[in-house]
Subunit: 146 residues, 2 copies
DNA sequence: ACTTATCTTATAGTTTTAGTAGTGAATGGT
DNA sequence: ACCATTCACTACTAAAACTATAAGATAAGT
């Protein structure tokens, strides 16, 4: 029941892109610097986010990444789902053939309920919400070579 | 964001004890047989549940385990919390000293919200609820040497 | 050309998970 | 007293997941 570092970093990465939405390309180098995360690690994390169409990239000097959609159109559910490799807290919830007990399993109900609450909660929050919330909080100096 | 096998098994174990609430001792052997789980593994899982006072034990022949409280007084939150080693989806939520960014972290809010929803959902379900729900479902033949 | 930055593939160390094995200690029935 | 049963405790291990790091290739702007 832990959120992986990978997912946490990925959300912070997406937050940075949302913060500078409209700018053509924000480099991982800058994001890594601002967020204090290894650039190499971020480059791994962003791969599935790009593959699933949340992010677009530009190569070369002044290149970098940008959100593929408006921040208000990207929910935390999408991001976490991609980075966690699905949002099912149990494999048997998606694929009932994995467990022959599924039809009579007395505990299945709770897990289904919990799973739907998690999805529902994450679905309700978008990158835009994170950006708006961040306006009320202090932020360290940051460097973006825009 | 996965529920561990350990926790799933633990909940099924507690469900079995709830099902036979009132009986002095249900042996792990029987539970293991009914649920199709390794008895040795169950004996590991039940240790923290006993240590935290959810379960009491009786040794010797006709010994076994029983719930320490009424099933309606034992929530899934308690069980999952014990078996997962806490219910915090991020260590920094409980212990903000772990992260110097905590006061200005723009993503902290979502994780706090998600965490509270999870706790709230699990808190609302008790072992009694599981037993009641199970009455509507078919159950395989089972062997309890009561 | 040269620099910047993404893209791709491989790898490696650490931690967690999911068990198994063996021994010891208490208890109740005969 | 003996014996089978059941919990109690300690140690170990194989496999998987997690958290990165490294090196070279590719593309684009100046």
């Amino acid at each position: 029941m832990k959120i992986s570092t990978r997912t946490r970093y990925g959300v912070r990465l997406m937050f940075e892109l949302a913060l500078f939405n409209g700018v053509k390309g924000i480099s991982l180098k800058d994001i890594a610097s601002n967020e204090g995360i290894s650039e190499k690690y971020l480059s791994q994390i962003i791969i599935p986010l790009k593959a699933r169409g949340l992010v677009i990239s530009f190569r070369g000097p002044c290149g970098g990444y940008a959100l593929a959609r408006d921040p208000s159109e990207i929910s935390l559910r999408e991001i976490v789902e991609i980075l966690e490799g699905g949002l099912s807290i149990l494999d048997c919830l998606n694929n009932s053939s994995l467990c022959k007990r599924s039809t009579k399993c007395p505990t299945r109900g709770v897990w289904e309920l919990l799973n739907s609450k998690i999805i529902q909660t994450l679905e309700a929050v978008t990158l835009r919400d994170l950006v708006e919330e961040s306006l009320n909080k202090p932020r360290d100096s940051f460097t973006y070579s825009i």
